[in-house]
């Protein structure tokens, strides 16, 4: 393949909801060390775009390529390199944070519990490892889901509203983590209603339904 991109490549993506066009002919590349912030009004298709990029939804037209291959042809390779966190945190309230993370880890890779304690410590849940998530606050539940970011070796992170119900400390800690990820050649796609300041990476912004990416300084 001559046009292989080292990361994600969206090729003339169109998306509709019902019979209404959300966006048409969206085209961009996401390479290592780059961030794309997806913005737009409610219902402009931010979540739809993220789900298309993650391979959860199919676009009406167009292709998503991972390292030059269509993602549904390279699923196992792409999914090993992808971490997608959606609105719904995929956290079982009946399970403890450790059990939740253990499951997430084995779904995406290894079975070991290595690093889970450490990740929970980093995310500020030390001392809550063995309490069922039902007893944690909304922000703490969110942190359990975000602790996966410390565990994963995925290169491409797609995060839908990760800051929801987080406090200021957690947000700044996450931004530090994003910076580290980008400096290590990671990629990030993020939506947020809150301001984002990531001290690293080449940052661009996509305001739906416009399909032009704008540089962001």
């Amino acid at each position: 393949m001559t046009d292989a991109v080292a990361g994600l490549h969206l090729k003339s993506i169109s998306c509709t909801r019902g019979y209404r066009d959300l966006f048409t002919n969206l085209e961009f590349e996401l390479c290592p060390g780059q961030v794309i912030r997806v913005e737009g009004k409610n219902g402009s298709g931010k979540t739809s775009l993220l789900r298309i990029m993650a391979g959860l939804a199919q676009p009406l037209e167009g292709e998503v390529l991972w390292q030059g291959r269509k993602i549904h042809h390279a699923e196992s390779d792409y999914f090993q390199n992808l971490l997608f966190l959606g609105h719904r945190a995929a956290i079982k309230f009946e399970l403890t944070p450790v059990e939740n993370l253990c499951m997430a880890k084995s779904l995406h890779g290894s079975k070991t519990e290595n690093g889970i304690e450490e990740a929970l410590y980093q995310i500020g849940l030390y001392g809550f490892e063995d309490i069922p998530c039902a007893q944690l606050s909304a922000g703490q539940k969110r942190r359990v889901a975000l602790a996966q970011l410390f565990l994963t070796q995925a290169k491409c992170w797609i995060l839908d509203e990760p800051y929801t119900s987080l406090d200021v400390n957690a947000v700044s800690m996450l931004e530090g983590l994003f910076a580290k990820h980008l400096n290590n050649g990671g990629m990030l796609v993020i939506t947020s209603h809150q301001p984002i300041t990531i001290p690293a990476g080449e940052q661009r912004k996509l305001v739906l339904p416009n399909t032009q990416l704008e540089p962001l300084i």
């Binding site: 509709t16 909801r17 019902g18 019979y19 066009d21 199919q58 009406l60």
Partner: protein, 248 residues
């Protein structure tokens, strides 16, 4: 597996819309003509059956309807699979617009079967293998229609329907076999079965003509349904806008 580009081009909604518009009149005329011929031969020319008297003439709607009920389900499953694998929009479409027609034929096969059964068996309903299979087929059709109606996003409805149809097609032989087996097991319950002697040619010909006529009917009516559905699904394209603007 890749389909040649020409297939995709040929099966594009626009092309399909134009082509089918030209084909429908032919199918309609063929249907009306063969229907008249079939009815004439079936009702006037074919001789009275020595066992069943005139009541056997119900066969000329019952049997073709039963054939159609299976035939349409197969068409739906094949086109759904094609739509699922190669993402051909018009194939998805054919599956979903065929369903009401198939369900109607299944319903007719059941009702005419029981109307035929009354003079033959003395009751409107008998749990014989063929009627039971037909009843289950009707459930499969209704399930498919209900599923299509419940899913709002048309593309998702098509894909979910395709899975259901493929599962159904795998199951139909199994269901059919088990119902056959079950009915031979409980043979005592069924009243005198028709023995099926080789049919006389004068009775067979109207049957085949009627079967052809039903197929042409299906072709005409499925294309008519597909055309209106294409207008709905492709409403954001320019060519549909032009067509609508030119409609008075």
């Amino acid at each position: 597996m890749k389909l040649p580009a020409i297939v995709h081009k040929f099966s594009s909604p626009k092309n399909f819309y134009v082509m089918s518009g030209k084909m429908i009149p032919w199918f309609m005329w063929g249907f009306v003509l063969s229907l008249l011929v079939g009815l004439y031969y079936g009702l006037f020319v074919a001789p009275t059956d020595y066992q069943q008297g005139e009541s056997y003439r119900i066969m000329y709607v019952h049997v073709p309807a039963a054939w159609m009920s299976m035939f349409i389900y197969m068409i739906m499953a094949v086109s759904a699979a094609v739509g699922l694998i190669w993402r051909i929009k018009t194939a998805d479409l054919m599956a979903s617009v065929s369903a009401p027609i198939g369900a109607a034929f299944t319903f007719l096969a059941l009702v005419t079967g029981s109307l035929w059964g009354k003079p033959m068996w003395g009751t409107y309903w008998v749990w014989d293998a063929r009627l039971t299979s037909e009843l289950i087929l009707l459930f499969l059709y209704l399930g498919f229609i209900a599923l299509q109606a419940a899913i709002e996003e048309p593309r998702n409805a098509a894909r979910a329907g395709a899975i259901l149809l493929i599962v159904g097609v795998v199951n139909i032989p199994i269901i059919h076999y088990s119902v056959e087996w079950w009915s031979t097991l409980h043979q005592g319950a069924t009243v005198a079965k028709f023995d099926k002697p080789s049919m006389h040619i004068s009775m067979l010909i109207p049957l085949l003509v009627m079967a052809t006529s039903f197929k042409l009917y299906y072709a005409a009516s499925v294309l008519m349904r597909a055309r209106s559905e294409i207008l709905r699904r492709e409403q954001n394209t320019r060519w549909v806008k032009e067509i609508i603007d030119n409609e008075s």
